[in-house]
Symmetry: C2
Subunit: 241 residues, 2 copies
Amino acid sequence: MADPTSPHPGTSALRVYPHDLETRVDRKESLVEDAYRALKASILDGTLPAGYQAVEHRIADQLNMSRTPVHEAVIRLQHEGLVRVLPRRGVQVLPISAIDMVEVYQVLVAMEGMAAMLLAQHPERAEASIRMMEDATNQMERALKGEDLRGWARADDQFHRVLVSECGNQRLAKMAATMVDQAQRARTVTLQFRQLPHASVQEHRVIISAIRAGDTLGARTAAEAHRTRASGEIIKAIERL
Amino acid sequence: MADPTSPHPGTSALRVYPHDLETRVDRKESLVEDAYRALKASILDGTLPAGYQAVEHRIADQLNMSRTPVHEAVIRLQHEGLVRVLPRRGVQVLPISAIDMVEVYQVLVAMEGMAAMLLAQHPERAEASIRMMEDATNQMERALKGEDLRGWARADDQFHRVLVSECGNQRLAKMAATMVDQAQRARTVTLQFRQLPHASVQEHRVIISAIRAGDTLGARTAAEAHRTRASGEIIKAIERL
DNA sequence: AAATGTTATCTGGTATGCAAGAGCGCATAA
DNA sequence: TTATGCGCTCTTGCATACCAGATAACATTT
């Protein structure tokens, strides 16, 4: 702040967007949580691009806190595979490789398949969740018509986040959410290079109706097929980069 | 150390086994890692039973380090669902509920099913891993004949850890390992109340031969069926407690 | 004796201080 | 001019210090 002209290449990216980071800190739960959310959000939406590198102390200054909570948040992000700390080099935002996405989507196929199955086991209990997934899907359709790729991606994310967070299994929900984060980030990067993804809307509807019908196997199969197909597209897109 | 007779109820359990904790600290990677491993191992094998409660500072004393690394390790364990920190009460080892095990086994069904499928996609590449699983299964059989329940459990664990760690997907491996940890802990508690589990050996062999035959769907189905059945038994055993 | 208010203490979260090691640059020598 | 070696700096990991808030015990009053 005292030196807004500092031209160090390693720190410029953070200095360019100080407001973005600070405004993301609103919750008062704990500073570690604040730092975690702020950094993660910035990484996921591309504000902090792959390869971006910064030192804990500087991040702490940006977020108006000491190194301690930043340190813990960074370690958490490292465990999730979003950053790595290079000894005596600083924290580095990891690039997304095709191999990473293969892994992420394999996990998502397994977990969302299970989540869809669990929801289908109690369709009546899950009605509110199903409605949310329907809303998200409808919004995807609207966004597609308006060729609003960002809006489509946001709604698609919403569908998948509801699917796993409402399945009733908190452990599954939490792990799958971490994978969805990574998928979201990959998509943010590749979005501009892709065709309009028309198939998703229909596939989501198949999943929804199987869940509502209590067709556990059908719901699972549909969820798996959807992620498997999407997986191929994303990975091709990443390989083109 | 200076006060081996301290009778505080909240700290006695740790004081009783100082050697157990300290001898687990051998790696020199980082103190956080040391603390994490020591605490986790003690929780998994029952040295620190559910309900056990201690204060970070005291744990740090036991492990001959400061609070900082202990604090970080505890937070990690909390994320994994093994402990929780009660504000101004200390760190508490969580009990294992039937609901927890339902969740854990649902995740394992999904992930080990996927892992078996991935292995079956490249049986030749996986030959070394398959051998390890065979060894583990043979050892289970021997342990059963000798009615060595502990030995059986150890070998069974080994089988499942190899299955997920060798599947080629590191994210899946890491997440599944966390779930296997919890399953292991639950089994340690319930082992004494169970019948000799004869079915497992045969089921493992089915999984192995499907993988070796490159039968992806069969491997997946067999792995799922195995965990699904075992799930029922463990959960019944826990509910009896 | 019981209930309530006050205060001392204890804990986790956070900040700051300290040390060790690796990289980078500069100086010196060939 | 180039290569090599020494030392300074910079960064993380760990230790220590500090603080706010909640609990629990004690005292006081009814």
